[in-house]
């Protein structure tokens, strides 16, 4: 019988998950080491916690039973290098699952990355930030503001000055 950990969301919902799933979060792993099996997460809503648990469940399953020797070898190799490069997930099926997982609106991604950062789930943080970068790529400033509900706090003069500031570097294009 797998050991179960109870996670309690900010709005009081309780979730029982297998230890290996919960341990995708380094924070939870450390807390449980101090013999605490009920973990309150006041800053994480149940909606977000459900999504995070789904991610952890999928990744715990893959980490326990790597599909091929090469994917676990690649994971071992990447963990021994001193810099971690993006895209540590080498298993194509898992990568495809991740890509489906992040087909969420920006608000949901924001909430997930905040929670994943709080829980110290590095791969999930990287995944969301990469996804957000892909949504920013190729867009103009005004489009980005609209998509992410960001207020333009520049004066027209400031914005014009910024437009010119680094244009020297790209005038050959």
């Amino acid at each position: 019988m797998a050991k179960m950990i109870k996670l309690v969301s900010g709005d009081g919902a309780e979730f029982e998950v297998e230890e290996e799933v919960a341990f995708q979060s380094k924070i939870i792993k450390d807390i449980v080491a101090d013999a605490d099996d009920v973990i309150p997460l006041p800053t994480v809503s149940s909606k977000v916690l459900i999504q995070v648990i789904e991610y952890c469940r999928k990744h715990a399953a893959v980490n326990s039973f790597p599909l091929s020797p090469s994917s676990s070898a690649a994971a071992a190799a990447s963990s021994s290098s001193s810099i971690s490069y993006s895209k540590p997930v080498s298993d194509p099926a898992l990568r495809a699952w991740d890509n489906e997982f992040v087909k969420l609106n920006n608000s949901s991604l924001f909430d997930i990355v905040i929670a994943a950062n709080y829980l110290d789930i590095e791969e999930l943080v990287d995944l969301v930030l990469e996804t957000v970068a892909d949504r920013i790529k190729g867009k103009q400033a005004q489009e980005i503001r609209r998509q992410f509900n960001i207020e333009n706090d520049f004066t027209p003069e400031e914005e014009e000055a910024l437009r010119r500031e680094n244009s020297w570097a790209f005038q050959n294009n």
Partner: protein, 197 residues
């Protein structure tokens, strides 16, 4: 937790998270679009979180020499010396190499393909690249065996260069062969005599 509103404070996301988002973007976007979105994003692009890894290899293949100098100064400055990786091609003055060496306290991975690095510069710069674990000098036609071997023979005063080679050579054993750049040097007639190269 308030979930009613659909807006999230993207502009207030912690700087290192924003830096991680931005560094995946093309150089032109980081420097000309992102700063114009809002003030806090502009601040992130000015600061070190965006520039832990400086990859201007593609850009540097099309720029003018004075632009390369300016860009290198600007980005190394913004990183506050905390950059762990630098990828740039076409470096051609000693001052550019010493600029890198002067700020290489955190540098682990250095990629300088197609640079004008010669043996004298290697000897000058190598001692200061203390944390280097990966070096790409492919297509640097002016580096020869003597830069490496002369240092290994112990005749030179600085002994840090052989240590650099040992670190490079030992790190090779941890990496799969198809990702290291020495294949290029192996086929060149200037390839150093050391078999690992």
């Amino acid at each position: 937790m308030a979930e009613g509103s659909d807006a999230r404070a993207w502009e207030e996301l912690i700087p290192d998270a924003l830096g991680l988002i931005f560094r995946n973007l093309p150089l032109q976007e980081i420097l000309t679009v992102i700063p114009r979105v809002c003030k806090s994003w502009s601040r992130v692009v000015l600061g070190p979180y965006c520039w832990q890894e400086i990859d201007i290899d593609e850009w540097s293949q099309h720029c003018k020499p004075e632009q390369l100098d300016k860009m290198l100064h600007m980005l190394i400055d913004r990183s506050c010396g905390s950059f762990r990786r630098l990828s740039v091609s076409g470096l051609h003055t000693e001052s550019m190499f010493t600029l890198i060496a002067d700020h290489a306290g955190s540098l682990q991975r250095l990629e300088l393909p197609r640079s004008e690095m010669n043996d004298a510069i290697v000897k000058l710069v190598a001692p200061r690249l203390c944390n280097l674990t990966y070096l790409d000098v492919s297509y640097c036609s002016k580096i020869g065996a003597c830069a490496i071997e002369a240092n290994m023979s112990g005749q030179q005063e600085n002994v840090a260069a052989p240590k650099l080679n040992e670190r490079i050579l030992s790190s090779l054993s941890k990496r799969s062969v198809d990702v290291h750049p020495w294949h290029d040097l192996e086929t060149s007639k200037e390839a150093p005599l050391c078999s690992m190269w």
